[in-house]
Subunit: 205 residues, 2 copies
Amino acid sequence: MEYSSSVLAKAVNEFAKLPGVGEKTALRYALWLLKQDKEAVAMFADSLSDLKDKVFHCQRCNNLSDTPLCPICQDTERNTKQICVVETIKDVMAIENTDSYKGVYHVLGGVISPVEGIGVGDIKITQLLSRVKSEAVEEVILALPTTMEGDTTAFYIHKLLEHENIKVSALSRGISMGEGVEYADEQTLARSIALRQSFDEIYKH
Amino acid sequence: MEYSSSVLAKAVNEFAKLPGVGEKTALRYALWLLKQDKEAVAMFADSLSDLKDKVFHCQRCNNLSDTPLCPICQDTERNTKQICVVETIKDVMAIENTDSYKGVYHVLGGVISPVEGIGVGDIKITQLLSRVKSEAVEEVILALPTTMEGDTTAFYIHKLLEHENIKVSALSRGISMGEGVEYADEQTLARSIALRQSFDEIYKH
């Protein structure tokens, strides 16, 4: 599209770099910003610059944090003997949202994917191993995606931890809550039969 | 959602103010930015600040511009005797995109809408009238939305220009190009029968 203002065109161009944002949406964002007052736009711009200046990775768990140790690692109420291994910080947020886990986390920052060229060295697996060795960990819970890449990564970590004398578990697989059996995909259904759980076990939770 | 970084939370909060952006999308944008290098993020942030510092409204037609007069008003090749009246600069872009109009524009910046409290004084109607009086205009083309508000505004402008001895026209109404007749809505279909055009006229264009 042709823009009568090159400054507007530049802002649209920047917005259009965001994932899933096309030129029309980018223009909508830029025109919306143009209507806001100067202070609001400055605050918006500053909050973005701050992202690169003030956000770090937690030294222990690799979660995002404003401080060397993230709030979860700093929290003395958390059970440091349980480490939940996740792919991204979005997974940490999702699990925290459930309010049903009181252990700590380890954010890998990705999963092994030969297709995308992500190898063992590109994600925080070594750091997980040294935490297990040094932090008196009792259980590692693998909360990785149920994809080929996620399963490969889980299997790799499981192998690494085999001789560490700790419990290695993974999130349960099965039918979603509120889902009709007929709507579950074949693979999930087959697995949920094979991995069927004791009735008492399920209704206790 | 809970964020382990307040700086991240702030950026997400800012993104979520954009029209049509919810918290999940805002988080996706912020995390994407976090992965870019510092220079790219600085460029993004600067382009937003520039919006309020360096973009103005064209003194003549109210289009957005980096200069007092927009590129279209500066272009000596354009026919200044034709003024196309539009609601927003998006409409200017859409019409420019067709490459079939060589006149100039007048951007009202809105349409009359009692429901939203937008009156005659809130949009650039007075400025249009003074342009018509001072610029030797021969035709005003109303390219306003085909809504009640758009039609009201068009009617109001038409009334104002009644005694100016110029041609006042409006975009033709009818079936969209490439649209099956059965899919046109009733109102459009009824109008396109009432406003039917000569076969020769249509196929000439």
